[in-house]
């Protein structure tokens, strides 16, 4: 595929708002997970909750879109001069030539969950101030972001569970390739809600401790929330040596089970190989792999099989979910941006919380930060429904 430039990007996770806070936390090995204090949730678990969203409004003229997910989108957009970068791109290309392709798994359904508690005792009706299109609707976040950024090009939401905001890169690349836009805002926003907390808990997949990917005693995920955005564009000329590029994307399906990965990692392996093929790279060209690494028994085992089959046991890899939690529909873009930081700043983050690597997992899992030049990164994202997406990023 034609390489695309990550011209501007920003990330807000439980590690902090913006790239500097993210980088500081990764370098210090600091986790953003804390005992769950989200609303009245009574689960024994850790979450990556972003402080202050409860009191943070969306833009005043877009009050119809007020919900936790769009508040998080707004907070994310305000970091790292991202809006300014998009404004400059808009002046360059025109508002109709920039697409908005965002991933989310649960959009603003927290509002619906809370509205169901306030149903009219007699009629069962939801409260009058409930706004479906501005919150619950799966498309709400792309609609909101397109309005905030004053854009008028193609837009849509990709919602493929935990691979959503990796797959938006593929959608954007195809849109640009087909000539429907010159640049795209890609990203993902997912926020805490009861459905995911109690739902993952019902599957026995929520850990009572901060998640420990690849640990012999790992026992589930920690759920977090995040907003990440990238301005992705074609590069006509003059790519700087430190410009981070999207080099390849691979997508596949497990065709196995709705919530359990293929035990041999067959679907994951197909996605990884397709991404390398699209980037015209060999496994040895990859310096670091940012794993999906959720911290459940079956996910890490399946991913390890796929990674080991393609790369063998020498390529350094880690999961950053011990730091951020599992960011669900925002995981793909968050880890793509973390990968871009690794390339820009020459380090590979060690996985947090993991004490003893599971001896049955054979990839080279980093437990400490490792300094060194990083020019090519693979980032994996796998979701329910057996939906797999791998990205290759690097310098040219």
């Amino acid at each position: 595929m034609q390489a695309l430039q990550l011209s501007a990007y920003t990330l807000t996770t439980p590690l902090g708002a913006g790239l500097a806070a993210t980088l500081d936390a990764l370098r210090a090995g600091r986790s953003g997970l804390a005992p769950c204090d989200f609303l009245d949730v009574d689960l024994d678990t850790y979450v990556g909750r972003i402080n202050g969203l409860e009191d943070m409004p969306v833009r005043a003229d877009l009050a119809a879109y007020d919900c936790r997910n769009n508040r998080l989108a707004q907070l994310g957009l305000e970091q790292d001069n991202f809006i300014e970068a998009v404004t400059a791109a808009r002046q360059r290309y025109g508002d109709e030539r920039i697409g908005v392709f965002l991933g989310t798994s649960t959009s603003g359904i927290l509002d619906t969950e809370l509205a169901y508690r306030q149903r009219d005792a007699e009629t069962g009706a939801l409260p009058k101030n409930f706004s479906y299109a501005g919150s619950h609707s799966c498309y709400s976040v792309a609609d909101y972001v397109q309005r905030v950024l004053d854009l008028a090009g193609p837009a849509m939401v990709v919602s493929t569970a935990c691979s959503s905001s990796a797959k938006v890169f593929a959608t954007a690349a195809r849109m640009i390739h087909a000539g429907l836009c010159d640049a795209a805002i890609v990203g993902g926003v997912d926020s805490l809600c009861l459905t995911t907390l109690y739902g993952f808990n019902s599957l026995g997949l929520v850990s009572s401790r901060p998640c420990r990917p690849y640990d012999v005693n790992r026992n589930g995920i920690s759920i977090g929330e995040a907003a990440g955005f990238v301005l992705l564009e074609k590069v006509e000329s003059g790519i700087g040596q430190d410009s981070v590029m999207l080099l390849g994307i691979g997508e596949s399906s497990d065709a196995y089970h709705m919530s359990t990965p293929h035990p041999e990692g067959a679907g994951a392996q197909l996605a990884i190989q397709a991404a390398l093929h699209a980037a015209q790279l060999l496994p040895d060209d990859i310096n670091y792999i940012n794993l999906h690494g959720t911290g459940t028994k079956s996910n890490d085992a399946a991913e390890d099989r796929a990674v080991f089959n393609v790369f063998g046991g020498n390529t350094p890899c880690s999961s950053t979910k011990g730091a951020t939690g599992h960011l669900l529909g925002a995981a793909g873009v968050s880890e793509a941006i973390i990968s871009a930081l690794c390339i820009r700043h020459g380090f590979m983050p060690g996985g947090l919380n993991t004490e003893l690597q599971d001896p049955s997992l054979h990839s080279r899992y980093l437990l400490q930060n490792k300094p060194g030049q990083v020019t090519r990164v693979l980032s994996n994202s796998f979701g329910f429904g057996g939906n797999n997406c791998s990205l290759v990023m690097g310098t040219i």
Binding site: A125, M156, N387
Partner: protein, 264 residues
């Protein structure tokens, strides 16, 4: 951009498959609304079949019909799924449980709550490891899916199946987002003209063009307006017609899809 239609599937009130619906859609036979009968797919293992709701059944039914119409193998095609709402019955059940003491969400309800549940069941049913994606774009979800599917054919040079479906929410969500009757549509799109080509589409995103194309029958028009997946009806009517047609479908942010439909 140019793309070629090889196969069509449709299922909705009074529209029970493409072959029997063509005359109605072309305006040559009267439209008679009737309850939507969706048979569960025998492609799914029985355990999975029991767990699926209307959207999964709709998606499998129209997807398989379109691929058979195109005389393609199900397992060879990437699939694009598009829906405004997903499975409203399932979401209602979860929200109801979460509002009660105990908050006991069933694991199956939970994994069925993801927007891409139909695509997950699709790949299990078809044993296809080809990529799938699942999109949402409110009332323009079909249009978003058509754009995504067309760009996929251009990028890969291969065929792809687009499957769009929507079904109404139960109350109380229905009052907040009233949707019309359940409707599903599927199109097999190809990058090149083959012997199975039914029509050639020239698709452009445009602004400030004419109002969205309507369908003639008042009841079909109500379905088009009420159910996002049925926003495909003007395209289906053009595909059922005998000649070249030009239609316009509303997208978002003042954009529309301008589609020139030429029968092969």
């Amino acid at each position: 951009m140019k793309t070629f239609i090889e196969g069509i599937g449709v299922l909705g009130s009074g529209l029970n498959g493409w072959q029997t619906s063509q005359a109605v859609l072309a305006g040559a036979a009267p439209y008679v609304p009737a309850a939507v009968v969706i048979l569960p797919s025998d492609l799914l293992p029985s355990a999975e079949r029991r767990r699926t709701g209307v959207p999964v059944k709709l998606a499998l039914a129209v997807g398989c019909e379109a691929i058979a119409h195109a005389q393609r193998q199900v397992s060879e095609l990437p699939a694009v799924f598009a829906s405004s709402a997903g499975d409203g019955d399932n979401m209602h059940y979860i929200f109801d449980m979460l509002s009660k003491n105990g908050r006991e969400v069933s694991p199956t309800r939970f994994h069925n709550s993801v927007h891409n549940a139909p695509s997950g069941y699709w790949s299990i049913a078809t044993k296809s490891m080809a990529p799938t994606t699942s999109l949402a774009c409110f009332d323009a979800s079909f249009v978003a899916g058509l754009i995504e599917a067309a760009t996929q054919t251009i990028a890969s040079g291969n065929a792809v199946v687009l499957i769009a479906y929507d079904a109404p929410y139960p109350q109380p969500l229905h009052a907040a987002r009233p949707l019309g009757a359940a409707f599903g549509v599927a199109l097999v799109l190809a990058a090149n003209k083959t012997q199975h080509c039914k029509a050639e589409l020239e698709i452009n995103i445009s602004r400030n063009s004419a109002a969205s194309t309507r369908v003639t029958d008042a009841e079909l028009e109500a379905l088009r307006v009420g159910t996002p997946a049925a926003r495909s009806l003007p395209l289906l009517a053009a595909l059922a017609g005998a000649k070249t047609d030009r239609i316009c479908l509303d997208y978002i942010a003042g954009n529309q899809l301008d589609i020139m439909v030429q029968r092969c």
